[in-house]
């Protein structure tokens, strides 16, 4: 555990909003001299900002490819570490009114299925899941992020979608998850790194350590993330 003080600015993927907010609170209990400031946004927007010189100390990405963009730009100070993972799941309306039991059930035109666009990680994962399961699904829409998929299902506009487990948990009573068997599922990795231009590298290191610590991992797990 490194000693830290001052302000640590954490750029984190929007899907980490709740978990990291709690981690931040817990972190400040342990490091009372440190203030944590978060900037939640899409991972790619965060990379853009960091590359443009944003005063970030820590970058927590929702997928390795955006972290790669950061390392490609030599904007990282530490090697990226996968700090947590997420599993894909099928999101359906509460009570599962359409009676979906697995990925194979999605391969029908009677259902409105939405998934992420191939450009964003969850879209690639969804495609991977379908490939693993050997089904061909024709989605009605290729959403720009996971939350859009969840929102469409919770609002009843879509019948099912491929999202992360954590998203379904965050949606609470508005949605329900249909698990995808481990055999066909994919694991989404979340890497974290201290940035090259970090104004407060000590505190940044302390924050990354805290995320990787048991305390941090416990909090992440409570939001449905899976320890790597």
């Amino acid at each position: 555990d490194t000693e830290s003080a001052g302000t640590v600015t954490v750029f984190a993927a929007a899907s980490l909003t709740d978990a990291f907010t709690e981690i931040g609170d817990a972190f400040t209990v342990e490091h009372p001299d440190t203030t944590v400031v978060f900037n939640f946004s899409g991972s790619s927007a965060l990379v853009t900002q960091i590359v443009e010189g944003a005063p970030a100390d820590v970058f927590a990405s929702a997928d390795p490819s955006n972290m790669t963009k950061l390392t490609d730009a030599d904007a990282n100070a530490t090697e990226p570490v996968v700090f947590t993972t997420n599993l894909a799941a099928i999101v359906v309306a509460p009570g599962n009114p359409t009676g979906i039991t697995g990925v194979a059930d999605l391969a029908t035109d009677d259902l409105i299925v939405v998934q992420c666009a191939p450009e964003v990680p969850c879209g690639r994962y969804a495609a991977q899941v379908f490939e693993n399961a050997g089904v061909s699904v024709s989605p009605k829409s290729l959403e720009e992020n996971v939350k859009a998929v969840v929102t469409k299902v919770t609002l009843g506009e879509a019948d099912a979608g491929i999202v992360y487990v954590t998203d379904v948990i965050a949606a609470g009573a508005d949605a329900e998850a249909v698990e995808i068997p481990a055999a066909v599922n994919v694991v989404a990795e979340y890497p974290i790194a201290v940035t090259a231009g970090a104004p407060n590298p000590d505190a940044a290191g302390a924050f990354v350590d805290f995320v990787l610590s048991d305390r941090g991992q416990t909090i992440l797990t409570s939001y449905g993330f899976v320890e790597p």
Partner: protein
């Protein structure tokens, strides 16, 4: 003699005003120059050759033109109502019109769902009785774009109507023209600058519309993926491609706006000195 200044230098505007205007121009020009500066010209062509891009472009143009047309058809009457009829709740109606400008983009889509979605207030019956579903269709894109674009038309046209001298309407009606004929032949031509400005604003807004569209209509190449969505998604993987695609959008709107010529924005700066009121 001291106050005389050479004619060549008569700019027509006070210097401080010119300075402010130039700052504004620079403010608008800089980001474009910045974008151009960042554009990877070498690869530009490869990004553009993509079929999906052309599809998205066509869809963007078609939908934004439809949205502009719908905005004109419904927005001009609404502006007329707001400008010329005194009724309780006029302020509320006007505020309603600006609603979609204030709504954060995604919420706009959520609101459209609540109204016109499968489970929406009206959408449910549209679906059940007429079999019309808007979400995830091209029509949905048009609806979303109209929703965000129409306010510009309404507000612009209303203010022009209020500025207009209604005595010309009087003159027209005594000549036997109904309110409707008067509106078409006297009022509308007189506010043409505002009409064009409003339509341009609406069209530009529709062309650039992103949030409500992706939420309400989704993103599917060929049916609902417009250029802004394509740009947004390519930003996820490749900023360079995104910049090139954005430049295409910019080029098109530039072409249209410059093509429109000054003429359409209003009467040419006429030399005054005549007497008609």
């Amino acid at each position: 003699m001291t106050r005389a200044r050479p004619r060549g230098r008569r700019v027509g505007l006070p210097v401080p005003v010119l300075v402010l205007a130039c700052v504004a121009i620079v403010f608008f020009a800089l980001p474009l120059v910045g974008l151009l500066w960042r554009t990877p010209w070498a690869d530009a062509w490869t990004y553009l050759a993509d079929d999906d891009v052309l599809t998205a472009l066509r869809l963007s143009l078609v939908c934004s033109l439809w949205a502009t047309a719908l905005s004109l058809v419904f927005g001009v009457p609404l502006a007329w109502l707001l400008a010329r009829v005194e009724f309780a709740g006029r302020g509320i109606v006007r505020a309603l019109c600006t609603l979609s400008m204030v709504l954060p983009p995604v919420v706009g889509g959520v609101a459209l769902f609540a109204a016109l979605g499968r489970r929406g207030l009206v959408g449910e019956y549209l679906d059940r009785w007429f079999g019309i579903t808007l979400p995830f269709t091209t029509a949905g894109v048009v609806v979303a774009q109209t929703f965000v674009a129409m306010p510009f038309l309404v507000i612009t046209v209303e203010s022009a109507l209020r500025q207009l001298d209604t005595r010309f309407d009087d003159a027209s009606r005594t000549l036997g023209a109904t309110r409707w004929y008067t509106f078409r032949r006297v009022t509308l031509p007189a506010i043409r600058p505002a009409l064009v400005a409003g339509a341009v604003l609406s069209w530009a807004r529709a062309l650039g519309e992103f949030g409500a569209t992706i939420t309400f209509a989704g993103n599917f190449p060929g049916t609902t993926q417009t250029m802004p969505l394509a740009v947004y998604l390519s930003l996820e993987t490749n900023t360079d491609e995104a910049i090139v695609l954005a430049l295409v959008l910019i080029t098109i709107s530039f072409a249209v706006l410059i093509g429109l010529r000054d003429h359409w924005f209003g009467r040419p700066d006429r030399l005054q000195g005549t007497a008609t009121a």
